[in-house]
Amino acid sequence: MVPYRYEEISHTADLALRVRGENFHDLLRHAAQGMYHLMGAGIGNNTSIDEAFTISHGSHEEILVDFLNELLFLCEAHGKVLTAFQFSEGANGLQVRAVGHTLDGIVRPIKAVTFHNLVVNQSGKDYETVITFDV
């Protein structure tokens, strides 16, 4: 049972999120939602945007960081906020297909997703982790 998707936890200088998911892909979805929430990323209009990218093979921690950093890049450089994700395993890694919207401003910038003490824990079917963001 996953009682919450994400919650902000205290960090002196930066930002941190505790994220849970019923499986690893669910964890990725909730981490994305939490990160956009921390950023206060606004959605510009109702026009839908399709996006597809691949995250290279790696540990759960590496995939999580790569996935979130990809979203940060798409947000800052291309003004895209992705809100729904489909994941599938491909020969080169995790294939991500997403739908989203154009960005309409950010309240709080995030510079990067860090590996600081990052461990993706699995308990039964549930996944949980704490992610620290540099702001």
Binding site: E8, S10, H11, T12, A13, D14, L15, G40, G58, E61, E62, V65, D66, N69, F73, C75, E76, A77, G79, L103, G105, I106, V107, R108, P109, K111, A112, V113, T114, F115, H116, N117, L118, T132, D134, V135
Partner: protein
């Protein structure tokens, strides 16, 4: 998690403390903290000292990991941390420099009296705010081709001078003359170049700011005179770094080095401390890319300086006698540099990581402008919004005891979420404006996160570094206009 207590420290003197390498089995060197007892006690509320202990496990780390009194918890290294590593047996760690490569501060002086400019401060705030792009994802006025950006990264502030954005004095009064040698754009990702193309000359968000200040107090008449600072006159500070360009460089290399750590068999207490031997291909590639980021930041602050000078001219020409701004100094507080320091009584080239710490070279040191040779390098310590900032100088003791380093600011004590819960942005704005400070801010929640209550008392931080004799006071600045992204 290991709890650290006051009894774990050995008191060296009133402002210097040490944790012995016996404290934890994997420490290679001591952790040395420059702080008053009260600031050290406060630091135990977060993980900053534990992060310094983790840093002391890096291969080839020399002498001690130093921690400044503005320390607070970061990721990997603590903010306020200084670590020097051996060029042959040591490593370089991107996490020891940070995502905002060469985040730093610039100070400009003027001969404008407060009384001359008082009535024009609201206009000046508006014009600076209009001319200096700020906020997230906001592009600058320049859009460079990737090849021009690559050229700029190699030339640093010299590129800005060649384009007419800088004077010879600006470059002379910038750490490393505004250019780290050995930058190689071939070591950058396409993504970094894409992010950097349109971000030169932008302030960004977070704790970055432009501030118009009053020189409120002078403590070292000679040094202040040499720097062009006089009581009652106006000064300007710029705090920003390498923007998304630097963030991408660090992101790329922290990711790439995850595998390198396994390759070299390093056993690290935190994945964010990833590193590579300095003399390895991976270490050299990161150094070359990081230097591109550092040079980008020098140009960024230079372009903003140019826009601020334009704003002063536009607003004040014909209204004050001399509206020109001269550069006192520009320095980095997130950087990795190859420098020569005394190790066990012998001069040695080492790689100094400064993460939220400022270079503070003493009188007569190599690498500081001739004008400052007698007094030491200016050290710029901005306070939190609405409080004082300090101008200090490096000392002979900083060269001997802290790898020529000092504090970089006030240092946070309150998390951003707690600040937002406790402080209402509009109330803070009203409070600051009632004290005569003009505020231009991108967002009220963002303003609340940067409230003075969220930071340590910068005066206490400065008393600690002065008490530890790694810096001397020169001047205290008081804010008149604050522009935040």
């Amino acid at each position: 998690m290991m709890n650290i207590k006051m009894s774990d420290f050995t008191r060296i003197d009133a402002f210097e403390w040490e944790i012995s390498p016996e404290f934890r089995h994997d420490m290679r060197v001591p952790v040395r903290i420059f702080a008053s007892e009260a600031l050290l006690q406060d630091s135990l509320a977060d993980k900053s000292i534990l992060q310094a202990v983790n840093t002391s496990t890096l291969p080839g780390v020399l002498d001690a990991v130093m921690v400044m009194p503005d320390m607070h918890q970061g990721y990997g290294f603590p903010i306020g941390g200084v670590a020097a590593t051996d060029l042959e047996s040591g490593v370089i760690s991107p996490g020891g420099i940070g995502y905002d490569i060469n985040c730093g501060v610039r100070l400009l002086s003027s001969h404008i009296q407060l009384e001359e400019v008082k009535a024009w401060l609201p206009t000046l705030a508006n014009v600076i705010n209009q001319r200096c792009p700020s906020g997230v994802g906001v592009d600058g006025r320049l859009s460079l081709t990737k090849s021009e950006l690559a050229k700029a990264c190699v030339q640093g502030a010299g590129w800005a001078k060649a384009k007419g954005y800088a004077t010879a004095e600006d470059l002379r009064h910038t750490e490393e003359n505004g250019c780290l040698r050995g930058a190689d754009p071939e070591k950058l990702s396409e993504r970094a170049l894409e992010r950097g193309r349109s971000q030169l000359g932008t302030l960004g968000g977070g704790n970055h700011f432009i501030e118009v200040d009053l020189v409120a107090d002078i403590f070292h008449e000679k040094a202040a005179r040499i720097m062009g600072l006089q009581k009652g006159e106006i000064a300007v500070q710029v705090h920003t770094g390498s923007r998304g360009f630097g963030h991408q460089i660090c992101t790329d290399y922290v990711r790439m080095l995850q595998g390198v750590v396994r390759k070299y068999g390093f056993n690290l207490p935190d994945k964010q401390l990833v590193c590579a031997p300095i003399d390895s291909a991976e270490g050299q590639a990161y150094l070359a890319a990081m230097r591109c980021g550092a040079n980008f930041a020098f140009i960024n602050r230079q372009l903003l300086t140019n826009y601020i000078r334009d704003a002063f001219e536009f607003t004040l020409a014909g209204k004050v006698e001399d509206w020109h701004l001269r550069q006192v100094y520009d320095l980095a507080h997130n950087i990795g540099k190859i420098e020569e320091h005394l190790i066990d009584g012998r001069k040695k080239s080492v790689c100094v990581h400064r993460k939220g710490a400022t270079r503070a070279f003493g009188p007569g040191s190599n690498g500081i402008p001739d004008e400052y040779a007698e007094i030491g390098q200016p050290v710029l310590v901005p306070g939190s919004m609405g409080t004082a900032s300090w101008v200090l100088v490096g000392t002979e003791q900083s060269m001997k005891r802290s790898f020529g380093s000092c504090c970089h600011g006030a240092g946070r004590v309150m998390s951003r979420s707690q600040a937002k819960r406790q402080i209402w942005g509009e109330d803070l704005l009203n409070n600051l404006e009632s004290r005569g400070i003009e505020i231009r801010a991108g967002s009220m929640p963002g303003l609340a996160e940067e409230a003075p209550q969220a930071y340590k008392d910068v005066d206490q931080v400065v008393e600690s570094v002065v008490g530890a004799r790694i810096a001397e006071k020169v001047a205290r600045l008081y804010p008149l206009v604050v522009i935040k992204g």
